[in-house]
């Protein structure tokens, strides 16, 4: 092994993803971030398909491990018991985030179904399951509306996606809702012709539209 190899190995070991354990730690951090983001911004964000898939596989393995071990538990000593408690606690924590992440998304999908369906870019943010859910949910909802009152209305009043007359019936996420953010880099954003200088680590409340791009690049993080 020459010097270059050693150097290369050293650099590779610093890269996230090299070491399986680091990657796992990083994935849970990313999951927490995705959850916080989804909860705080007004719009629906793209579904974290690969991340969630990776974590779901690991969750399944942990559940299997717990089941395997609890069968033999009676004969084993206490150390294993404690280890299982640790494993179970962590499993609960990760499952909690995944559930809350999913619920947050479902709430937005319910609210903005018509908008999401009318816009390919929005539809692309859904996972396959979420899309199926949205279609079915909307179908049931329309069926209910129809059977309960819509069928008694004149035909011209039956639309649920009217946009004329200055008032849209399609709910859209309000991108002008303010959000709490922390800047991780210096930037200038413009709100109402006013320039706001974001200093590193500063905490601001600004409307989401002004920092949306910076949230995507990671120059600010939502809190």
């Amino acid at each position: 092994m020459n010097f270059d190899d050693i150097l290369k190995e050293f650099e590779a070991s610093k890269r996230p993803g090299y070491n399986e354990d680091e990657r796992r730690a990083e994935d849970v951090r990313l999951l927490v971030d995705a959850w916080v983001k989804e909860r705080t911004v007004p719009e629906l964000l793209p579904y974290e398909q690969e991340l969630i898939d990776r974590i779901l596989i690991r969750i399944r393995k942990q559940i299997e491990l717990i089941e395997m071990n609890s069968i033999e538990l009676q004969t084993h000593e206490r150390e294993i018991k404690l280890r299982l408690v640790v494993i179970e606690s962590e499993l609960d924590r990760v499952q909690f985030i995944i559930r809350s992440y999913t619920r947050t998304r479902l709430q937005k999908i319910d609210k903005y179904s018509l908008y999401i369906r009318s816009n390919d870019k929005e539809t692309a943010k859904l996972s396959n399951n979420e899309f199926a859910y949205m279609e079915r949910h909307l179908e049931l909802l329309l069926e209910l509306y129809n059977s309960q009152f819509m069928k008694n209305l004149p035909e011209s009043l039956q639309a649920i996606d009217e946009t004329g007359g200055g008032v849209s019936m399609i709910d859209e996420p309000d991108l002008d809702r303010p959000v709490f953010v922390q800047a991780t880099a210096e930037n200038v954003v413009e709100v109402d012709d006013e320039e706001i200088e974001l200093t590193k680590n500063g905490i601001y409340v600004v409307r989401y539209r002004a920092v949306k791009d910076l949230v995507e690049t990671g120059d600010v993080r939502v809190l």
């Binding site: 354990d21 796992r24 947050t104």
Partner: protein, 212 residues
């Protein structure tokens, strides 16, 4: 409903606690213990009396089983907190620098590891309470500065942010809407004013003619 209204664009205090429990603390294990493969970062192998960094949730779990002692962070000392308190008094328009999760971490350690504190826990508790109150007053005073464009709140911790979040978001949103409707009104009136101006101009022209 898949997500209650109070959870939309906000977190419950328990959820902020949850986030704080992900933070790392140093522990001194009392016994040696095998590590465990977890979904996230694995639990390291613990050797008796060898310091190790583990997440707070794991540290309190082990502490409850009397398997370890927690090294109380430096900022949870009477000396450190007193300096911060003096700063809060000295600079009325600034928040002193405390850890991002100071409230939940302090509470958790006081509840589960009060025997690991070097300074008397009751003194720490009362200092924390003083800090909390003086900062709460400041945060409330800051509400006066609310406007529709932006507000800067450096130095607040996540728990403190979460407490005032619903109020601030709603007020700023309403101010923004009011401001927008003013703008729309101004734009509507502009052509009318311009027309009125032209009328007057014509009138004055007429005047000149009449004078001639």
């Amino acid at each position: 409903m898949s997500l209650p209204k109070s959870y939309q664009q906000n977190f419950s205090p328990q959820e902020i606690n949850f986030l704080a429990e992900q933070e790392l603390v140093t522990v001194i294990p009392r016994y040696s213990m095998n590590g465990a493969q977890l979904i996230g970062a694995k639990m390291p192998k613990l050797r008796a009396l060898n310091r190790e960094q583990i997440p707070l949730w794991l540290a309190t779990l082990l502490k409850k089983q009397e398997k370890c002692n927690i090294v109380v962070p430096e900022w949870l000392s009477v000396e450190y907190l007193r300096v911060r308190y003096d700063e809060e008094i000295k600079y009325p328009s600034k928040f002193s620098n405390l850890p991002w999760h100071w409230l939940p971490i302090a509470k958790k350690l006081l509840d589960y590891a009060s025997d690991d504190f070097i300074d008397p826990p009751h003194e720490i508790r009362s200092l924390l309470q003083d800090l909390r109150e003086v900062r709460l007053v400041k945060a409330r005073k800051g509400i006066r500065e609310l406007n529709h464009v932006y507000i800067q709140l450096d130095g607040l911790s996540l728990m403190e942010i979460n407490e005032i979040r619903p109020f601030i978001l709603e007020v700023m949103d309403q101010l923004r809407k009011m401001n927008d409707s003013l703008k729309v009104k101004a734009e509507e009136e502009m052509p009318r004013q311009a027309a009125a101006q032209m009328d007057r101009d014509e009138d004055s022209d007429d005047d000149i003619y009449q004078k001639e």
